[in-house]
Structures are given as structure tokens and as C-alpha cells.
Symmetry: C2
Subunit: 221 residues, 2 copies
Amino acid sequence: MIKLKNIDKVYRTDKIETLALKEIDLEVKKNEFLSIMGPSGCGKSTLLNIMGLLDQPSKGEIYIDAEQVMTFKDKKLAKLRNKKIGFIFQSFHLINDLSVVDNVEIPLLYRKMSGSERRRRALAALEKVGLNTRTKHFPNQLSGGQRQRVAIARAIVGEPEIILADEPTGNLDSNMGQEIIDILHNLHKNENTTIVMVTHDEHIAKQTERIIRLFDGAMVN
Amino acid sequence: MIKLKNIDKVYRTDKIETLALKEIDLEVKKNEFLSIMGPSGCGKSTLLNIMGLLDQPSKGEIYIDAEQVMTFKDKKLAKLRNKKIGFIFQSFHLINDLSVVDNVEIPLLYRKMSGSERRRRALAALEKVGLNTRTKHFPNQLSGGQRQRVAIARAIVGEPEIILADEPTGNLDSNMGQEIIDILHNLHKNENTTIVMVTHDEHIAKQTERIIRLFDGAMVN
Ligand SMILES: Nc1ncnc2c1ncn2[C@@H]1O[C@H](COP(=O)(O)OP(=O)(O)OP(=O)(O)O)[C@@H](O)[C@H]1O
Ligand SMILES: Nc1ncnc2c1ncn2[C@@H]1O[C@H](COP(=O)(O)OP(=O)(O)OP(=O)(O)O)[C@@H](O)[C@H]1O
Ligand SMILES: [Mg+2]
Ligand SMILES: [Mg+2]
């Protein structure tokens, strides 16, 4: 489903060059539920962003569903992303000027769907994450864990084939965190969703099918 | 050190009134290390913001170091905050236009101190949290956990009497998270710092002296 071949990623600031990813070879099978773990700063978000076509590698090849995407123009990449990938960002990236329900509807704007059908599905996704009493709030009127859950609802509302989740439970208590993981497991089992999840929580990672570990930009074992 | 008497906090949006805190009575002794736990949305950040004089309660009294602060004007509150309180925000609140080291120097701008002494102390705080190779980076060039550590360095750099930490390890792997907790324990032991920490991690909370639990805005047990 997702294939990365010999991926490097270099970041340059004024003073420092960081080799954030080194020779990453990774294949994520269709309908696999994979966890990625590793210390703070070791390259997990960078790897997920590259898988999600949000960032370009400095070197290497990427295949999404067997399509070679390195040659795609921006417009074609965006279309593929919107069609196939739901992304839960580590820092949520909610739109502050839009209400919670409007935020969650955004992925559905790319589809042929009536406004009332969009609203129905957005509210259903918000119900799943326990936020049906906060639909008209704005992001700055929510707790940290509530914002995280809006980001999760937005990623699942379109029932995408691939979900990339960057530390989806970091701001949640253990009960709510487990509820979120159960939602992901249900999508994995019932909708055949392919899921790649970055997490710092061993307990959560152990509930997935495979754990890969990064250290200093490289895969270990 | 911090005394809250019969604190209520009501938030009003267009449609919904939320009683975020209900009749909170809490005394934090000098040099105590207290944890606050509870489900997502139950009022922990609201409670910490009120303790940190960043938000006003709708009802009730607050005493910091025996001074009744409800009558203070904004300027006096800000002076007390800068003098006595270091705050680690759940969403970090770093300044994107300033480098990492400039962000960490900010609490020291309120003191009589040379520029070189400010820089020396900021770099020492960044060394403690493992970020000495990132001092010239900007916040948007950092990983999530690195941003969290900049927020921590900024809160401890002025060696304040009170540290209020809102989920300080949410974006950190367990090793780095424990390093941060060790830093807080050292400040508690060696500098007699009073620390109130919100956390979702039972393992971390058990290492502190007392755990209070919130549910739906009220203290339980
Ligand atoms: N500015 C605001 N306007 C309206 N409601 C608000 C506002 N800020 C917070 N709330 C509501 O008050 C309640 C408590 O929020 P708070 O941020 O204290 O929760 P929390 O315990 O820190 O949660 P988390 O663990 O998710 O960070 C939440 O239900 C939230 O929706
Ligand atoms: N835009 C950027 N410019 C320069 N360096 C960057 C940039 N983005 C990330 N980095 C660096 O690349 C490294 C990897 O970052 P990344 O965000 O992938 O880490 P991570 O494993 O997700 O960490 P965390 O667990 O803290 O979220 C970090 O050391 C970071 O400082
Ligand atoms: Mg990250
Ligand atoms: Mg909070």
C-alpha cells in the first residue's frame, strides 16, 4: 500500500544540516496496522509526513498503492492525498476561524456530497470521539485533548483507505486514549483501513500488528 | 503557597454555558509536589491557569504566598507572575519569530541581568533538556517533543518559586519524559520549588507527593 525505497531527508537551517532520515526502506502492506516508535527528535513525524505526501524526501522513491508518486505534480499529489489519506497531525492543525463541525467537514468538501450529508457524517465522527456537545465551539474554546479529538474526527470522517496518525493519544487520559485506539482498530477490521501510527506509548503500540523503531533517523531492527 | 477557596469557573459561548470548575477548595503547601489527574475536558488546564493568574475565576478567592490576589490590578498580577511562577503550557505557546534560545531568555528579561548572563542561563536550561544542538533553530524547525522541551526550559530558567506544568511529557518518549520529571524532582528537592503538575500518566503522578483528581469540574475524593 505504501512503499518507501532508500529514503533520505535532509533539513538545512542557517547553521545546521540535519539528516532527519537515513536510507529508510519500508513497506506497509494493504490493511496493515503498523506502529512507529522512537525517541523525541528521531524522525517519526518526518517519516509520516513523507508517507502522507506532505513533504518531499531529499532522495529515494515512494509508491502509494503501487503508483510511483515522485513524478506527480502538486495538483495530482493533492488529489491523491485527499482521496486516499486521512492525517492526524501531532499539533492538530485545526482552523481557528471555523467551528469544530466545520473543521471536521473539510475532507468531505472534495467529494460529490450534499451539505446535509456532509454535516450528518461530520456529526457522526464527532459522536464517535465523544464531542457531540462541542460541535459549535471554536478550537480555542476547547481543551487540549478535545482539540486532539477534533483532529481525529476530521481524519476518519471520509473513511480513507490510509490513516496516518502522529501521536493520536498524547493529550488524552488512558480511558479516552483506549477509546480512540478502539476506533482505529474497528476501522482496521471493518473497513480494511491501512493504519500507520506514531506513538510513545508501548501499551498502545503492542495492540497493533507490527512495531518499527527509529533511532537518529534510521530504522533499527 | 497557593490557596484556592470555593472557586467556580464558567465559560460562555454563543450556545453553551460550561461550568468548568465547581466549588474548588485546594491548598498547595510551600515545597509540595502535587499532581492533578482527570479525564480530557474535566477542567485541569482551567484550574492551572487560575492558579497561574492567567485567568480569573467566576467566583471564589485566590491567595499566592498568603497575598490575596483577587484585588490586584493587571500590572501587579503580571509582576507577581513573572517573579514567582514558571508555566509550562499544554500547547507550549512558543514565539515563532524568535529562536529557541531567545524564547528561553524571555522570563529573564524582567530581571536586572546582563545579556551575557541571560544567554548563559538560557543555554544551561536548554542543556538540561537535551537541546544544546538546537539553540538557533526556530520553533517550526523542531519536532513536537523538542518544542515541549523548549517550553520546559523557559519555565525553569528563572528558577521560580512555583512551577505549574500542564502535561509536560505528553509528546515525549518514556526515557525523555522521565528525564524531565527528574529535572522537576531536583528543583523540588534542591531549590524547594513548589510544583503543580497536570498529567495523564499514572506512572509519573505516582512519583509525586500527592495526587488530586478532577471529574467534570469538581474534585473527587
Ligand atoms: N475559552 C473557552 N470557552 C468555552 N469553553 C471552554 C473554554 N476553555 C475551555 N472550555 C471548556 O471547559 C472544559 C475544561 O477545559 P480544560 O482545558 O480545563 O480541560 P482539561 O482537563 O485540561 O482537558 P485535557 O486533558 O483535554 O487537556 C472543557 O470542556 C472545554 O470545552
Ligand atoms: N523544518 C525543519 N528544519 C530543520 N530541522 C527540522 C525541521 N523539522 C524537523 N527538523 C529536525 O529533524 C529531526 C526530526 O524531527 P521529527 O519531527 O521527525 O521528530 P520526531 O521523531 O517526530 O520527534 P517527537 O517525538 O519529538 O515528535 C529533529 O531533530 C528536528 O529538529
Ligand atoms: Mg513528532
Ligand atoms: Mg488541558
